[in-house]
């Protein structure tokens, strides 16, 4: 069965098959499988403005699942999508914790970052890592509220991982797909809500939040503040426009995926 699936993968992964499947709704493709070894990552949201700090935790997937040594590479982008910093860590323990502060980032702002588990050796076996990780947000040095990764977004081919400047690819979502997404949350209880969108694609995307149109260039992060409505709908030409949500009330906040 596995052999047949491998044999057929190039066919059902072709852009024509995806387009036909999505158009007919016989086989809706949102997340595209890839045939080669890779390390994939969500585009995680970091923020160091408005008193926030961000805590990031990643597991040593290489060691834990495949008994292979790897490093963790974090690449940070500003809110316009330009790379601003990167850090490499050796896994000295099962879980690495990294504090993203305004001192570390040298800026009070927000943006996105990827976390790549890069193996220290080339491998023949199938190794596809999608480290979903956990990100915590805290204000005024309080304990963080955690949320898991949102959307697997970028990846590098695993066997090219030694290169200094990794070539981030976005093939998971490269196809076009128009989506309407009604957030299943009653927003009326909160004083303010922030909708965080990150564009994982190499093309511009459009997002309409309750009819208000926004445009995001590749890798751009946008925070949209909104209150007053009970329900919020999102229309987009990106297939998975699920935002990260911050909801505020009585000096506390909640963070989760939409």
């Amino acid at each position: 069965m596995t052999f047949i699936k491998k044999l057929l993968r190039p066919i059902y992964n072709s852009s024509l098959a995806i387009r036909v499947g999505n158009f007919t709704r016989l086989r809706k493709v949102i997340f595209k499988d890839l045939s080669y070894n890779y390390s994939g990552s969500d585009l995680f949201f970091w923020r160091t403005h408005h008193g926030f700090e961000t805590t990031f935790r990643a597991t040593d997937i290489g060691r834990h699942y495949f008994n292979k040594d790897s490093i963790l590479k974090l690449i940070f982008f500003d809110n316009k999508g330009f790379e601003i910093k990167s850090f490499d860590f050796n896994f000295s323990s099962d879980v690495i914790e990294f504090h993203i502060t305004k001192e570390i980032m040298q800026i009070e702002s927000f943006g996105s970052f990827v976390a790549l588990n890069l193996l220290n050796e080339n491998v023949e076996d199938e190794i596809k890592i999608t480290n979903r990780c956990y990100v915590g947000y805290s204000r005024n040095h309080d304990e963080p509220s955690f949320v898991h990764g949102n959307v697997i977004s970028r990846h590098v081919e695993q066997n090219n991982s030694k290169q200094e400047n990794v070539n981030l690819l976005s093939n998971f979502w490269s196809h076009k797909s128009n989506t309407t997404y009604l957030l299943q949350k009653d927003f009326k209880y909160f004083e303010e809500n922030e909708f965080v969108f990150i564009n994982p694609l190499n093309r511009n995307i459009e997002i309409a939040l309750n009819g208000c149109q926004y445009y995001l260039s590749p890798m751009e992060t946008k925070i949209i503040s909104a209150n007053g409505d009970s329900l919020y709908s999102i229309e987009s030409n990106f297939g998975f426009p699920r935002p990260l949500l911050f909801s505020y009330k009585n000096n506390f906040f909640d963070v989760h995926h939409g």
């Binding site: 955690f146 898991h148 957030l183 299943q184």
Partner: protein, 258 residues
């Protein structure tokens, strides 16, 4: 089909809010909120006391309903369910991509709050197995309160005891053991453990959802679940790799002296 549940601890207020619509925006006027409770080794179903608006149902946890399950179905479907001794799949209204989102929230007396998506897929209720989760990925060891809720829903109406272990992979030993109950929300406190990056939760016999909880001294709450281990990798053999991972930990626990 999905079930929804409470978490409950001390004097916190726990509430679930269920949307009447899917995330693509469709409503089904036949869908009603129902609840199930185990009484004398039989599932008993009832219409839960709730507050209702045009778009949402909300139910608050009480001492009586804290382990009950909640779900959406029509009057005809609940009749079918009542004729069955075990839980059965009644509809696919909540089978969506992205996952159907209810809002399971917890609030403290300081007005701190947090929420979690809290859907329990029907397919999971049919399975027995072992639960594996990295404690170090989501715990806040500096928090005033720190622990994990473990929720199991099993299709048969039984309260069965099973074991949960805290395993330190660095020290290679079981540091604690607990007895949990099936078809219940259980809570394990981490107050007795030091912050290490190598703590794992392993439950033997029943699967479930681990929801990590912490509360800071200022009242800020964090609530989030760990990803199922197979989400950290892709590929044709990922379930085989995860199965091996669980078996290895099971062997380590079995050979550990506690």
């Amino acid at each position: 089909m999905n079930y929804f549940f409470f978490i409950h601890i001390d004097n916190y207020v726990s509430e679930i809010t269920l949307p009447k619509f899917t995330n693509s925006g469709s409503y089904d006027k036949d869908m009603k909120l129902k609840a199930g409770r185990i009484i004398d080794r039989k599932w008993k179903f009832y219409d839960p006391e709730c507050s209702e608006s045009k778009d949402f149902w909300s139910v608050t946890a009480t001492e009586d309903n804290k382990n009950d399950i909640f779900f959406l179905c029509s009057d005809q479907q609940i009749e079918r369910q009542e004729e069955s001794e075990s839980l059965i799949k009644l509809n696919s209204f909540t089978d969506t991509f992205p996952d159907f989102r209810s809002n399971l929230s917890i609030k403290n007396t300081s007005c701190g709050f947090s929420s979690y998506q809290a859907e329990y897929p029907f397919q999971m209720t049919l399975k027995k197995g072992n639960l594996y989760s990295s404690i170090s990925s989501l715990s806040n060891f500096k928090a005033k309160k720190n622990g994990v809720f473990v929720r199991n829903i099993f299709h048969l109406p039984i309260y069965d005891e099973y074991s949960a272990f805290i395993y330190d992979d660095h020290q290679k030993k079981v540091v604690d053991r607990f007895t949990l109950t099936s078809n219940s929300t259980n809570f394990i406190s981490f107050k007795n453990y030091d912050n290490t990056s190598s703590l794992y939760l392993f439950c033997e016999g029943y699967i479930g959802i681990p929801v990590y909880f912490s509360e800071s001294s200022s009242g800020n709450i964090s609530l989030e679940h760990t990803h199922p281990p197979h989400e950290n990798i892709q590929g044709d053999i990922r379930h085989k790799i995860v199965s091996q991972l669980k078996n290895d930990l099971h062997k380590k626990i079995t050979s550990s002296n506690l």
